[in-house]
C-alpha cells in the first residue's frame, strides 16, 4: 500500500474517532476553566449515547436525537453543578457519583434498546469542491460525519469565547480567583453553573455521536472508558480548546495507528500512553511562567463562598 493511502486512511479515521473526544474535551475545559472538576464525563456521555439512540430510533431523525442528547447531558450535569456549586460538596466525590449514576441509569433504561440496529443513523458526507483536493481532500473532506466539522467548529468557537471575549475573561477569572471575580461583580455561581452545563451538553453530543453516527447501535457501557480519556485530554490541552483540537485528533490518530503498528508495539503501552503523556505534559509546563500561563486553573476543585476562606 502506498504511503498516501496510509496517511489518508489514518487522518480520515482519526477525525472519526476523535470527534467525540474533542466535543467532550471542549466541554470539560469549560467546566474546569470555571473551577469545577467534573469526573462524571463517562456517565454523561452514556446518558447522551442512550438518549441519542432512543430519540433517533423513535423519531427517525438523528439530528433530533443528537440535540436532545445534548439537553439530557446538560440537565444531567446539573446534578453535579448543584452538589458542587450550591452545596459546596467535594467535586471528586460528586463527579464519581455522577459517573456511577449515569452508567447505572443508562444501563437500566437502555435494556429496552439493546439489540436493535439503527436505520435512521447520521450518514457521512463528502464536502463539495474541497474533497477533490489531492491527498488532503480524501483525508479531511471525504466520507466524514458532519458532526466532525461541527465539533471542530465548536472547538474554535469555544476558543474564541474563552480567550477573545469578555465572557471568556469572566469564566477564567472565576476559575483562577473567584473572590476577586466576585468583587468585580461577576456572578461566580452562575458562571460555574453555565460552564458545567456546557460540559454536560457537549458530553451529551459526544455520546450521541457515538451511538447514532459512529457505532449506530446501543449497548450498556458502550463508551468503554472514553470519558476518562477526556479527563486526561483536558490536561493535555492545557485547558485550551484549540490545543484540545490537536490533542483529541492526535490521540485518535495514535489509537488508529495502534492497529496498524500492532506487530511492533505492545498494546498496553499504547493504552497507557495518553495518561503518561498527560503527566509528562504537566511536569514540563510546571515551571515558572509556563505554570501560570498553561497550568491548571488555580481554583480547580475549590468551592467558593463569598466572605469565607
Amino acid at each position: 500500500m502506498s504511503w498516501e493511502s496510509w496517511v489518508i486512511e489514518t487522518i480520515s479515521r482519526a477525525l472519526a474517532f476523535g470527534t467525540p473526544l474533542l466535543l467532550a474535551t471542549v466541554g470539560e475545559i469549560y467546566a474546569e476553566r470555571s473551577g469545577v472538576l467534573n469526573l462524571g464525563v463517562e456517565g454523561m456521555m452514556l446518558m447522551g449515547a442512550l438518549t441519542g439512540f432512543a430519540i433517533s430510533m423513535g423519531s427517525g431523525n438523528p439530528w433530533l436525537g443528537i440535540l436532545i442528547a445534548g439537553l439530557v447531558g446538560g440537565a444531567f450535569s446539573l446534578v453535579h453543578a448543584f452538589a458542587s456549586i450550591t452545596l459546596r460538596a467535594n467535586q471528586v466525590v460528586s463527579g464519581l457519583a455522577l459517573t456511577m449514576l449515569g452508567t447505572g441509569l443508562s444501563g437500566v433504561i437502555g435494556r429496552a434498546y439493546e439489540g436493535f440496529p439503527l436505520w435512521s443513523k447520521l450518514g457521512r458526507i463528502d464536502v463539495p469542491v474541497l474533497s477533490s483536493i489531492p491527498v488532503l481532500g480524501p483525508a479531511l473532506f471525504e466520507n466524514q460525519s458532519p458532526m466532525t466539522y461541527i465539533a471542530i467548529g465548536i472547538a474554535v468557537l469555544g476558543w474564541l469565547v474563552l480567550f477573545k471575549t469578555r465572557m471568556g475573561i469572566s469564566i477564567r477569572a472565576v476559575g483562577e480567583d473567584p473572590a476577586t471575580a466576585d468583587s468585580l461583580g461577576i456572578r461566580v455561581p452562575l458562571v460555574r453553573y453555565l460552564c458545567v452545563m456546557v460540559g454536560g451538553v457537549l458530553a451529551g453530543f459526544a455520546g450521541a455521536y457515538w451511538s447514532v453516527a459512529y457505532r449506530t447501535a446501543w449497548s450498556g457501557g458502550m463508551t468503554a472508558g472514553l470519558g476518562w480519556i477526556v479527563i486526561a485530554l483536558t490536561i493535555f490541552a492545557f485547558w485550551n480548546p484549540l490545543y484540545g483540537l490537536v490533542g483529541a485528533f492526535f490521540f485518535a490518530a495514535m489509537r488508529v495507528l495502534s492497529f496498524r503498528l500492532q506487530a511492533w508495539l505492545p498494546p498496553e503501552l499504547l493504552k497507557a500512553m495518553p495518561y503518561l503523556l498527560a503527566i509528562l505534559v504537566l511536569i514540563i509546563v510546571s515551571r515558572g511562567t509556563l505554570q501560570k500561563r498553561m497550568g491548571a486553573p488555580s481554583a480547580l476543585t475549590l468551592p467558593y463562598t463569598r466572605g469565607e476562606d
Binding site: P117, R215, A217, S219, L226, F259
Partner: protein, 388 residues
C-alpha cells in the same frame, strides 16, 4: 432466653440453611446460572441465556440467573443461590469461575455443578464446552471463495488459544477454497470495545481485506464491513444478521441448550449422580448439534451468495473439481455425521514458521486444540506467544 439457647438455635439455623437434601431422581431441578457478563452482551452470555430458556421449557426444571458476576466473587453467589433459592444445580460460565466452582462442589456434595470452558472436575462437578472451530472452517471456505482481493480478515479479541484455534480453523478453510488468499489479523485486546473493533476493521479494510470474521461481543464489525459494502460472518448466532442483512454471509451459532438439556435430563433420570461426574466432560461440536453455521435463523448461508458459491470452483485433493457450495455442504455433512469423518486440523499441517504441528494422517487431540499457540501458514499479522 439464655445465651446458650440462642447460640444453639443460631447454629441449628445455620446448619439447616447450609444443607441441601440429597437429590432423588424424578425430583424437580432448580438450576442457578452464573454469568460473567450482562445478558445483553451480544455474545457469550447472551448465548448461554438462550440455552437457559430451553431449560426453562423442561417440565421438571426451573432457573435463576445472576449476571455480571466478577471473577473471584462466584463463591458467595453460589452460597446465595443455594440458600435463597434452594438450587440443586449450579452452572458457571466463565473460565475464571473454575476454582470457585470446584471449591463450592466440595462444600456442597449434594448439589450438581457444571463449569463451562475449564478443565477441573469433581464427583459432583462436570465441565462443558461447545466449540466453534469446525464452523469457522466452514466460514473460511466461503470467505476464500468470495474474496475478490485474496485478503480475508479476522478481528480477534485476545491472543489466547481459543481465539487462535478459531483463526487457524478459519485460515485452513480459506486455504482449502483459495490457496492464494491470506488471512489478515488484528487484535483489539478486549471482549467488548466497539471503538477498537471499528478502528481494527477499518485498518483491515485499508490493508485491502474484503471479507470479515471476528471475535467481539457486539455487531460492530458486521456494521462497519456493511458500510463499506463488504461481507462478514456473524458471531454468536443470527442476532447479528439484522444489522446487515445483505452482507452477513454466514456465521457461528451455538445452542448451549443442547448441552444443558442433556445434562439435566440425565440428572432427572438418575444417570448422573453427585458421585459420577468426575470424568464427564462435554466437548460438543457439530455432531451433537451444539454448534452450527447460521446467517439468519435457520439459514446456514445467506441466499444472496449461494449462486456465487456455486459458480466458484475448487480443485480439491479428495473431490476433484467441485464448487465451493458443494464442498461446504459436504464438509458440513461430515462434521455433523455421528462418526465425524473429517476434521479441519487433519495432518499434515505446518505452521507459518515451517514447524510440522499435525503429523500426516493424525487429528489433533482436544488437549492440543485447547492449548493451541501456533499460526497457520496463510496468516498475516502479529501473533503473541508464537512458537519459534
Amino acid at each position: 432466653m439464655n445465651k446458650r439457647v440462642v447460640i444453639a438455635a443460631m447454629l441449628i439455623l445455620a446448619l439447616v440453611g447450609g444443607v441441601v437434601a440429597a437429590y432423588e431422581p424424578g425430583e424437580d431441578l432448580k438450576v442457578g446460572f452464573i454469568y460473567v457478563g450482562p445478558i445483553g452482551d451480544f455474545g457469550w452470555t447472551y448465548s448461554h441465556n438462550e440455552g437457559r430458556e430451553d431449560v426453562e421449557a423442561l417440565p421438571f426444571a426451573s432457573t435463576v440467573i445472576v449476571e455480571s458476576v466478577a471473577e473471584g466473587q462466584e463463591g458467595p453467589v453460589i452460597d446465595d443461590l443455594i440458600a435463597l433459592h434452594g438450587c440443586n444445580v449450579i452452572l458457571t460460565t466463565s473460565f475464571g469461575f473454575m476454582d470457585g466452582t470446584l471449591d463450592a462442589a466440595l462444600r456442597y456434595p449434594d448439589v450438581f455443578f457444571g463449569h463451562a470452558s475449564g478443565f477441573k472436575r469433581a464427583p459432583n462437578m462436570m465441565s462443558y464446552m461447545g466449540d466453534f472451530y469446525q464452523v469457522y472452517y466452514l466460514n473460511g471456505l466461503i470467505a476464500g471463495a468470495l474474496t475478490e482481493t485474496n485478503k480475508v480478515a479476522y478481528v480477534g479479541a485476545f491472543p489466547i488459544p481459543e481465539v487462535k484455534r478459531h483463526m487457524n480453523a478459519y485460515a485452513l478453510g480459506v486455504k482449502a477454497a483459495n490457496p492464494d488468499a491470506e488471512v489478515h489479523v488484528k487484535w483489539i485486546y478486549s471482549w467488548f470495545d466497539p471503538g477498537a473493533a471499528t478502528e481494527a476493521t477499518n485498518a483491515l479494510i485499508a490493508d485491502g481485506c474484503d471479507v470479515f470474521a471476528f471475535t467481539e461481543d457486539s455487531p460492530t464489525v458486521v456494521q462497519v464491513a456493511a458500510e463499506n459494502e463488504m461481507l462478514s460472518f456473524g458471531h454468536y448466532g443470527s442476532q447479528m444478521y439484522q444489522f446487515a442483512p445483505d452482507y452477513v454471509v454466514s456465521g457461528q451459532a451455538i445452542d448451549w441448550g443442547k448441552i444443558y438439556v442433556d445434562f439435566l435430563t440425565k440428572i432427572y433420570e438418575g444417570t448422573y449422580t453427585t458421585s459420577n461426574l468426575q470424568h464427564i466432560d462435554y466437548w460438543w461440536l457439530m455432531t451433537q448439534g451444539a454448534v452450527f453455521p447460521e446467517a439468519a435463523p435457520g439459514v446456514p448461508i445467506n441466499p444472496l451468495y449461494i449462486d456465487d458459491l456455486k459458480a466458484y470452483m475448487i480443485d480439491d485433493p479428495t473431490f476433484g473439481m467441485i464448487s465451493a457450495y458443494d464442498l461446504h455442504n459436504i464438509r458440513l455433512a461430515q462434521f455433523s455425521d455421528p462418526g465425524v469423518t473429517f476434521d479441519p486440523f487433519q495432518g499434515p499441517i505446518s505452521d507459518r514458521n515451517g514447524n510440522e504441528v499435525v503429523r500426516a494422517g493424525f487429528w489433533l487431540s482436544v488437549d492440543s486444540l485447547i492449548t493451541m499457540e501456533w499460526a497457520f501458514e496463510n496468516i498475516v499479522g502479529p501473533w503473541p506467544n508464537e512458537p519459534e
